[in-house]
Amino acid sequence: MTVDLSVHLGRLQLKNPIATASGTFGYGLEFAGFVDLGSLGAISVKGLSARPCLGNPPPRICETDAGMLNAIGLQNVGIEEFLSEKLPKLHEKGATVLANVWGDTEAEYRAVVERIGDDPRVAAVELNVSCPNVVKGGMVFGNDPAALHALVAAVRPATRLPLVVKLSPNVTDIVTAAKAAVDGGADVLSLINTLVGLSIDVETREPKIGFTTGGLSGPAIRPVALRMVWEVRKALPGVPIFGIGGIETVEHVLEFLIAGANAVQIGTASFRDPGVSGRLVRELADWCDRHGVARVADLSGTLKTRPRPEKTYV
């Protein structure tokens, strides 16, 4: 059986649902020795800003149980160097590129997206809204539905490319955030970014991360990510979703697709095994073949839930 691995996230068409997550796959090129970049569904590059950013002082990372914390501080080469040095090479290798972007203010977000414009070498722009809103005193854009809506709406006119909004999971209600992003003009949602966490060196009594808190990623967060994907899919069945969070095996990929994602992004797992994303493309095809699934797109949102019971008392 030839399995049809292609998936459509609205206007964004991918040859398969295995993408890589921003900040965990560099600018893609670093992985060329481990993965055929053109064989992946998509590559979300390290978050780009209008100006090159130096990032946070170390220590920036630490291991936690079944995961890690990071506070890289969004170090990146800046949009100009990306467009002139990285993107041409990615394009040449046949990569489907998601340009992950961020800014400190709405204007900065807009500036970097405008610079990308309608560049045909970019498949979609992915907005990382987990950035502290410097104007609103450090409150995170993605954690305030009104600020999120305004941000997406401000950025939306800057490009005709599909706009992916990557949501923060550090919210009471992911559906409200999802709606705000979609109302603002998001074509696709990516969920989730990292959970905010803390880890302490008890001998020095210092945080293990220089920035004090960091973003928790890896298998530890997978159940939370899956739940959020399922909630958003239920509430907004027409909105395409990238599922992200602790994916390491083909079973994990399937969990996200069944929960309602249309595609997934592999994050921290690429640190443990730089070849994992390429392998998952093959393993997913094999799994579908063995299970008689002709089109991988048909798996999306097929979770069979039972009706929730009422509480019963004696």
């Binding site: 020795g33 990032g55 002082p57 291991e63 936690t64 149980d65 990071n70 690429s270 640190f271």
Partner: protein
């Protein structure tokens, strides 16, 4: 080229409760590895340890005729302990060789160099000693440890460099001079010895002191630096150290071997 391969453990040799050598099948890493480079090793397929751990390629060698390479390890936590527990024959994922090696290609015959090791920092200096010996470059070893039993691989160093070129310092005086390794290097410099370059690996306080000594003496250094690494090949940006230029240096790709003058030691 960096490769990601599963390599079998050929042998594990224990030195004491905390120190051991792991000999791995050569794969395509051994032949390619240069002194100062490292590998990222996944110790176990489970969740603890979760990330790979970095180890210097300590030596390229054979075990009972089988080509391999050696890691010299100090068990300090869950990953290093797990690495010491594997049965011989177990295949483990190894990524490498990684990073910028010690610069040695520019050394020429009359050049004389020094090697400075603190604690487990001996590891990358074994392969360096082997290569310098092959090239006929005379090298003095200054090696400091807590006590005699924590001074590892002495026979190799003395074979490669000559026993008369190997000087030791221990905290308790059980081997060589009682005191710190930077003291014995300092004495040698004061006594008038000069070096074309000083290669070093050890803990941060040693690096900081040594950087000061070399700066004052006007001697070039190459330090095999450490920091916590998630990926080892330049993509997580987790392993940075602050540079003198205000930027952050990605230790896994710009290093681990960097001149001490690149680093802002006041912020490490």
């Amino acid at each position: 080229m960096v490769v990601n391969e599963a390599l079998r453990i050929l042998r594990t040799v224990r030195y004491d409760a905390a120190h051991f050598s792991v000999f791995l099948q050569a794969g395509s890493i051994a032949a390619a590895a240069k002194p100062g480079q490292f590998v990222m090793v996944q110790a176990g397929d489970g969740l603890r340890p979760y990330l790979r751990r970095a180890f210097s390629v300590a030596d390229v060698t054979t075990v009972a005729g089988v080509p391999g390479f050696e890691l010299v390890v100090r068990a300090v936590g869950v990953g290093t302990e797990a690495l010491g527990r594997f049965a011989e024959g177990t295949p483990i994922p190894v990524l490498g060789p990684l990073g910028v090696p010690f610069p040695i290609d520019d050394l020429k015959q009359p050049d004389r160099v020094a090697l400075v090791a603190g604690g487990i920092g001996l590891a990358p200096l074994v392969l360096l000693s082997r290569r310098l010996a092959e090239r006929g470059i005379p090298a003095d070893l200054f090696y400091g440890g807590r006590n005699e039993s924590e001074v590892l691989k002495r026979p190799d160093f003395e074979r490669f460099l000559g026993a008369h070129r190997c000087r030791y310092a221990t905290d308790d005086g059980s081997l060589g001079k009682k005191g710190r390794v930077t003291d014995i290097l300092g004495s040698a410099l004061e006594a008038g010895t000069s070096y074309r370059r000083v290669y070093a690996c050890g803990p941060t306080p040693m690096f900081r002191t040594l950087a000061g000594i070399l700066d004052k003496a006007g001697i070039e250094g190459s330090f095999a630096l450490e920091s916590e690494m998630a990926c080892g090949f330049g993509v997580c940006l987790g392993c940075v150290l602050p540079g003198r230029d205000g930027r952050f240096h990605t230790i896994c790709t710009e290093g681990p071997c960097l001149p001490p003058t690149a680093i802002d030691w006041s912020r490490v």
